[in-house]
Amino acid sequence: MKTFIFFFKSALFNFARNKMRTLLTSLGILIGVLSVILLIALGLGFKKYIDQQFESLAPNLLRILPGTILEGGGFRGSPGLSTTRFDEEDFIDLKKVQEAEYVVPAFTKSVVATVGKEAELADIYSSSAEIFDVLNLSATDGKLFTKEDVDKRSKVVVLGPKIAEKLFKRKDLSLDRFVKIEKQRFKVIGVLKSFGGGFGGPDLDSYIYMPYKTGYLLNKDKKFIAFVVKVKEGIELSVAKKELNDALLKNYEEDEFSIVEQTELVNAISSIFNVLNSVLVAIAGISLVVGGIGIMNIMYVTVTERIKEIGIRRAIGARRSDILNQFLVESVVLSLFGGILGLLLAWIIVFFVQRFFPAYINATTVIIAIGVSTAIGVVFGVFPARKAAELSPIEAIRYE
């Protein structure tokens, strides 16, 4: 132990004498550890976000989407590329399924919404009154549209808080005023409570919600892009899924639509993200290798500079292993120094990122950072250290 402290002190002394060199060498490891840790922190944050989304989702919902989306837990195609569009007939067929408590159609369209002379790009989300239940949305101002509004094709809209603020500057001023979309005027009857999120998925706070029959004004061929089905209490999702599947098979081929559970969708998104994140972490890992090579390089220089010293130490009784350990300690300290700085910097950045995104660094990440930088110090330090240890004492001490 005392020998270790002696080596450690000796290493620090050596670094203090070569400040710039030490700093630059550590910088390689710093950048490597920083990028790896940041990516892991973002990955963890995304996982946390997904979990939060999970909790807010009703478990007994099924989504019916065009195309084949999920296969073996991952995405296959993109729903946007599918040509299938559902129509009112499908809506009626689905509603007949006993196991469904209700079926909600969805149609979205990007439009220009105008209030006075202000024009904003916005997305229409037309659906039935149950959509607010499905999405877990409620109004802070005014009210939500009802089944009657749907049946009477009332020209009313409910605004997400973000779009309300964009169009009317203050969302409470928007009630009972009119929004012009594609030459039609719609009355604002309510503004929704903020849902938050919006990362990686639709931003529910930015939609203009409209009864789907009113929506036909903007959706001339009366097609839907999706349905959401709430399954009755006490019925297995798989049973409901089969019934819905049978209902749609009358009009469609098996691969023209998909019925997915919310959780499947979330799992699929999260599995894609995990793969992506792992790839990114691996790429960032390459910079650690580059940093390690930097350490190896500088350790070779250090060994050459200190051949005489190695000879002196051998003359007074240092074994090969003592010399090896001395240089290993030095390269580990060098690498660890960079690693810890990288970790601290990552921690500071994550602290600021947390204002926008729930990224975080956990204990495992800290252990990984320290472990990896130690390992790099050992792996890339061992060759120079062995070179030092294998010098013959007599040649080393004669070296000038």
Partner: protein, 222 residues
């Protein structure tokens, strides 16, 4: 204590040429002796000292230290012997400039594999005091004079209580007055502490201060 039996040492210059630094050396150094190895430069005297000091191995022949054949010893064993049995004093002092005087003297204890019978710092301070430079213990070697550095080197050589001190031209890099003092210290160590001393020098004045002179020329003892 030390026996060399028909020892040869060759150096390879290139693939075909070898230089014979030592030829058929037979030498016995007894416990408590103060001997000088004397010869002109290139005579092989430093090579001989390196062999005795276990820094190098002979090409041919046997070296026995306390009746043990050193060619049978592992590198670790040889390191331990250098640590405990031999103390080196070099012409170039060979102190480590990154360490203070005191740390340089303590350094051999860092490589000791056996439990020490003394407190390293205390012993180092005593030794520095006995060579008269205790007040420089916190200085760095490159900040003190050559004579002072050589005293530090002697203190370091004594740290592990060696039986043998090998001094390679210890007065070669210091002025005459300091040289006399260094020799005085070595003589005292031989008489009072009964430490065996082997001195390598090319100066007759220095060699004549020892009890036995071994003359070497062109790798042969004459």
């Amino acid at each position: 204590m030390i026996k060399l039996k028909s020892v040869y040492k060759d150096y390879k210059i290139d693939n075909e040429l070898t230089f014979q630094a030592l030829k058929n050396i037979n030498l016995t150094i007894k416990q408590g002796e103060f001997s000088s190895i004397m010869g002109p430069s290139g005579s092989g005297k430093s090579t001989l000292m390196h062999l005795i000091g276990l820094l190098d191995k002979p090409t041919k022949g046997k070296i026995l230290i306390e009746d043990k054949d050193i060619s049978t010893l592992s590198d670790d064993k040889l390191s331990s012997l250098r640590n405990e049995f031999v103390g080196f004093v070099f012409q170039q002092f060979n102190l480590i400039n990154r360490y203070t005087v005191l740390e340089n003297v303590i350094l051999p204890t860092m490589y000791a594999k056996r439990q020490l019978s003394f407190d390293p710092t205390k012993r180092a301070e005593e030794l520095l005091k006995s060579v008269g430079i205790l007040e420089k213990k916190d200085s760095y070697p490159n900040k003190i004079s050559g004579g002072q550095q050589q005293r530090v080197a002697i203190a370091r050589a004594l740290m592990m209580k060696p039986k043998l001190i090998l001094a390679d031209e210890p007065t070669g890099n210091v002025d005459t007055k300091t040289g006399i003092e260094i020799m005085k210290i070595l003589k005292e160590l031989n008489i009072k502490e009964k430490i065996t001393i082997v001195l390598v020098t090319h100066e007759k004045d220095i060699a004549s201060q020892s009890k036995r002179i071994i003359n070497i020329k062109d790798g042969i003892i004459i």
